[in-house]
């Protein structure tokens, strides 16, 4: 429940949400990729937060409260846009980016190969890679490793169990490894691949 005992003390809506605009946009962008879609999702979140009324606002944890609203808005959009979305099976659960980098040695003259590979990714390319991951896994991954939420908090935020979150994190990590590798290959960031 997000009813705060002292919710009667009215605070302007803008004062409550403006400190979190950067966070909301960055989170929305990682969830849905496109800048315009992310901004639209943030606006949808703000409207829902405003309509929730003062009594429903969590003043102790406004970011957590706004996160839950954003996730709900995002889920509603997906239901409209892709109502039959299913979990995407991993082609190869054994894929290891660490081993693949060591075996393929894809960066010339690198004595810190694994770190140099990660340095290829700026925020845009990391966001693009995240879009290749199934949305349930991506959501868990972003909440856990970008924003530091605990598994039990993610379970509460996404309406599932902690066990399911842990399973999604495991699969999300494997998918991320694969997505980073495929993105680097497709964009020609590795030696021998045409740059795009």
């Amino acid at each position: 429940m997000y009813v705060h005992a002292a919710a009667e003390t009215a605070e302007p809506f803008a004062t409550l949400v403006e400190p979190h605009l950067d966070y909301l946009y960055a989170f929305a962008r990682k969830l849905c990729g496109e800048r315009t879609v992310a901004e639209d999702l943030v606006q949808d979140t703000l409207v829902r937060a405003f309509r929730a009324g003062d009594s429903l606002r969590n003043r102790e944890r406004p970011r957590y409260w706004l996160t839950k609203i954003l996730l709900s808005a995002s889920a509603d959009r997906r239901r409209k846009e892709a109502p039959h979305e299913h979990d995407v099976p991993l082609e190869d659960e054994r894929f290891s980016l660490f081993d693949t980098l060591a075996e393929e040695d894809p960066l010339p003259y690198s004595d810190r190969l694994h770190l140099d590979f990660l340095d290829l990714f700026d925020d845009d390319s990391l966001t693009a890679s995240l879009q290749q991951i199934h949305v349930a896994h991506r959501t868990a991954l972003v909440l856990a490793y970008v924003y530091g939420y605990k598994a039990r908090e993610i379970a509460e935020l996404t309406g599932t169990t902690t066990g399911t979150v842990l399973a999604r994190l495991y699969r999300g990590r494997k998918q991320l490894e694969k997505a980073l590798w495929e993105y680097a290959k497709q964009r020609g960031l590795l030696k021998g691949e045409p740059r795009r």
Partner: protein, 77 residues
């Protein structure tokens, strides 16, 4: 002792502190003897750092201005 594959599957849970004591002991025993898995552990830390570093991406000034205006309009209703 656990094999490399099993150790690799536990590395992120180990870093997340989502692993029970017996599994943690087995993993640490393995890491004490396996240079390859120590490398995997280090890489897992680097990937996590990459993800957490992306949290602070600032909003473009034009997008911030649009959203602030949107918030103000909501507040005026």
């Amino acid at each position: 002792m656990i094999a490399c594959r099993e150790a690799a599957e536990r590395l992120w849970s180990y870093l997340d502190r989502n692993i029970d004591q017996a599994q943690e002991d087995e993993l640490e025993q393995h890491l004490g003897l396996c240079r390859h898995c120590c490398g995997e552990l280090e890489f897992a830390k680097q990937v996590r750092n990459k993800l957490s570093a992306s949290a602070d991406t600032p909003l473009a000034p034009t997008a911030r201005a649009r959203l602030q205006k949107f918030v103000q309009r909501l507040g005026e209703r």
